[in-house]
């Protein structure tokens, strides 16, 4: 390189800098004129121009609102740090998002039939919805379970039920996602033992357990034990699975329930990521190599009504996760930095009034998830605010995704909204908001003290109340609810009804199981499990033994409750 060329290059660069500076100065001058004109003009009075989370939105965004000169640092390329544009290099050009609708109802037999039906029609993964007793670790014949068996999902009380659920479904070929948290380790062991019976080795079992207990304390409330033992169990799962079931996603860190309970977009983002960091810290404290378990962590976002704020949330989430994983936790592998996510449209936005309008809501929300770069998507059915969905309603929800994927063209290019002054500015704002909330949580001493003192629960309830007040004051319009109502409404939507027979069948089946199995073996296995808990050993091996002996879900829960106690919620409203 000659000096002449260097000097020419330097001069050209200098000229370019000056041109940009002059352009920005002119933009600012013209913007102040534009703003004066805007201020002088009348505005609509049916909105205050805030997002559903209360974020104030400016009338116009320009290069003055973005950190444009930091493109490579903040935005970059898809599949590259900091992953703002997507976790994978080629995104939907290589593979569309997974259209994963979760289902489950009544008994294992009935759900098994539904799964086989879905698999025959080309679905490649299953997503299991459990009933409330299962979600809380109760057997179907427990008095607490009465009236709830098989109502909101399938009832699974032992390995025998799990064997029936996956009868004829090879667990090395079908990936199974299980929405289970408090008793995640029990259901995971039921699944592993079922695979074993099918002759499928653990290292070939694919799937996901939600297993995110922290958000249960914050929002969904399907907890069993207090936070410390619950976190110990989750770390046991990370540790054991890294060695024995490396293809299994051991956690799906979920913002969904936090948002549905009332949180804002910023709270959902910050609380969820902070929960993720907490799990990472526990793994590291156990002595695990962060790059051994971090690639198996996955996320689950809600996708709500405010279109651009939601897209920005997905993008900001990837960037924050990448930065913290690399810079704070010292992860070396790109797989540890990249945030992969599932998304579900916001159930809480569905209205019982004029329910067919929900199809439009779900479509817009689904579009936001795709523009945000989700890896899989559950679209809600239009009738889910009335009851569990009918097959007809579920089919419309699935077709909505197919229309998005194949007709709208939005999946043709990667992260199409990158570079939008508005979307980039929102992405930056959400990142800043999340960092501020992280600092607030750190002040409390972390996530666990925040849960124990009711900090998160109080914040979420307050946000829920704010939304309800805005709705009732009419400052937040919900079509069909506080505006554009139909007098004399008969929605005409068919309702799915689940009868009480699942409860009876399950009670009978559990009685048979209890008389058939080797009672001594069960007692011994449960005692061994409790001993392992007392001695702070990894619970997976003794749990698997108890499950193989057909100890029930409720028996295992109680055995550990005797050691760990139960979580007591701080009550506030």
């Amino acid at each position: 390189m000659s000096h002449v060329l260097d000097r020419e290059a330097a001069e050209a660069l200098q000229a370019e800098v000056e041109r940009r500076r002059a352009e920005l100065a002119e933009l600012e001058a013209r913007l102040s004129g534009w703003t004066a004109a805007y201020e002088a003009t009348s505005k609509r009075d049916d909105t205050d121009f805030t997002t559903v989370s209360g974020r104030v939105i400016a009338p116009l965004y320009t290069p003055a609102d973005t950190r444009e000169d930091e493109y490579l640092r903040d935005i970059g390329l898809p599949g590259e740090y900091p992953f703002t544009r997507g976790p994978y290099q080629t995104m939907y050009r290589t593979r569309l998002w997974t259209m994963r609708l979760f289902s489950g109802f009544a008994t294992a037999e009935e759900t098994n039939e539904r799964y086989k039906f879905l698999l025959e029609r080309g679905q490649t993964g299953l997503s299991v919805a459990f009933d409330f007793p299962t979600l809380m670790g109760y057997d179907s014949d427990d008095p607490m379970s009465e009236g709830e068996v098989g109502k909101c999902g399938v009832a699974i009380s032992s390995l025998a039920d799990m064997e029936t659920l996956f009868d004829g479904i090879p667990l090395d070929r079908v990936s199974v996602s299980m929405t289970i948290n408090g008793p995640a380790i029990m259901l995971y062991c039921f699944l592993l033992a079922t695979a074993e019976k099918q002759g499928v080795p653990f290292e070939r079992v694919r799937g996901t357990i939600q297993n995110d207990i922290l958000k249960e304390y914050m929002a969904q409330h399907a907890w069993i034990y207090p936070p410390e033992p619950a976190l110990k169990i989750i770390t046991d799962i990370f540790e054991w699975s890294a060695e024995h079931a490396p293809r299994f996603n051991t956690i799906s860190i979920s913002g969904y329930h936090i948002r549905e309970a009332g949180a804002t977009a910023g709270q959902e983002l910050a609380y969820t990521l902070k929960n993720g960091f907490t799990y990472v810290e526990r793994g590291i404290a156990r002595g695990l190599d962060v790059d051994e378990f971090a690639p198996r962590l996955s996320f689950f976002w809600d996708v709500h009504n405010d279109f651009f704020e939601e897209i920005a949330k997905f993008r900001a989430g990837r960037r924050i996760w990448a930065r913290h994983m690399r810079e704070v936790y010292g992860a070396q592998k790109p797989e540890s930095w990249r945030l992969r996510t599932h998304a579900q449209t916001a159930g809480v936005t569905l209205t019982a009034q004029q329910p067919y309008n929900n199809v439009a809501r779900v479509a817009y929300q689904g579009l936001a998830a795709v523009l945000g770069g989700t890896q899989s998507l559950h679209t809600n059915a239009l009738d889910e605010t009335l009851a569990l969905p009918t097959e007809h309603a579920v089919r419309i929800a699935l077709r909505t995704q197919q229309i998005l994927a194949y007709e709208t063209g939005v999946a043709n290019t990667i992260d199409p909204l990158a570079g939008s002054y508005f979307v980039e500015s929102l992405t930056d704002q959400l990142e800043d908001e999340a960092e501020a909330i992280f600092a607030e949580i750190d002040e409390l001493g972390g996530v666990v003290p925040g849960i124990e003192t009711g900090y998160f629960q109080g914040r979420i309830a307050r946000s829920a109340r704010r939304f309800q007040d805005e709705l009732e004051a009419g400052s937040r319009v919900v079509v069909g609810v506080n505006a554009f109502e139909e007098a004399d409404e008969d929605h005409g939507v068919e309702i799915l009804r689940i009868d009480e027979s699942a409860g009876e069948t399950q009670r009978r089946r559990l009685a048979e199981l209890r008389s058939r199995r080797n009672a001594e073996e069960v007692t011994r296995a449960l005692a061994d499990l409790a001993d392992a808990a007392r001695n702070d050993q990894n619970l997976l091996p003794p749990m698997l033994d108890a499950v193989r002996a057909y100890a029930t879900l409720g028996e295992i829960r109680v055995a550990l409750e005797d050691v760990y106690g139960r979580f007591k919620e701080p009550i506030s409203f």
Partner: protein, 139 residues
């Protein structure tokens, strides 16, 4: 007319963890001047009836989003009757189909509120019931 505050027990029976509605309603009833006790989650019908008796409430409001309303409402109602609380209002809300609402009302449950109800409607209903019951005057 009524001098004293209306006492309301807001309760979450069964295993259902959805408490957004229960908490919003509890806060709204409190802000409307009522005395509100919230049970927290995962309560048995027996526990709810016992709390209602002990707290001497005027109204029991159940929030059920799990589909178990046809089991839980009648059970709480029966336990209330057995404990001499015939004159206490049992009301509530959740995901409850309209045929079920009618069936429960025939059994003696009060008005039940579905999605999209304003907190104002619930406050007005409870206040009106209280006026008409004459409970405020006795005490």
């Amino acid at each position: 007319m009524s001098e004293r505050k209306i006492r309301v027990l807001v309760a979450k029976p069964g295993l259902d963890g959805h408490d957004r509605g229960a908490k919003v309603i509890a806060a709204a009833l409190r802000d409307a001047g009522m005395e509100v006790i919230y049970t927290g989650l995962h309560q048995t019908p027996e526990k709810i009836a016992a709390t209602a008796l002990q707290e001497d409430v005027d109204v029991v409001a159940l929030s059920i989003l799990s589909g178990a309303h046809m089991t839980l409402f009648p059970r709480v109602l029966r336990l209330m009757t057995e404990n001499g609380m015939d004159d206490v209002l049992l009301t509530g809300g959740g995901i409850i189909p309209s045929e079920d609402i009618e069936a429960l009302q025939e059994q003696g449950v009060g008005q039940l509120f579905g999605p999209g109800t304003t907190t104002g409607e619930a406050v007005a209903y409870i206040s009106r019931w209280f006026e008409e019951s004459g409970r405020g005057v006795e005490a």
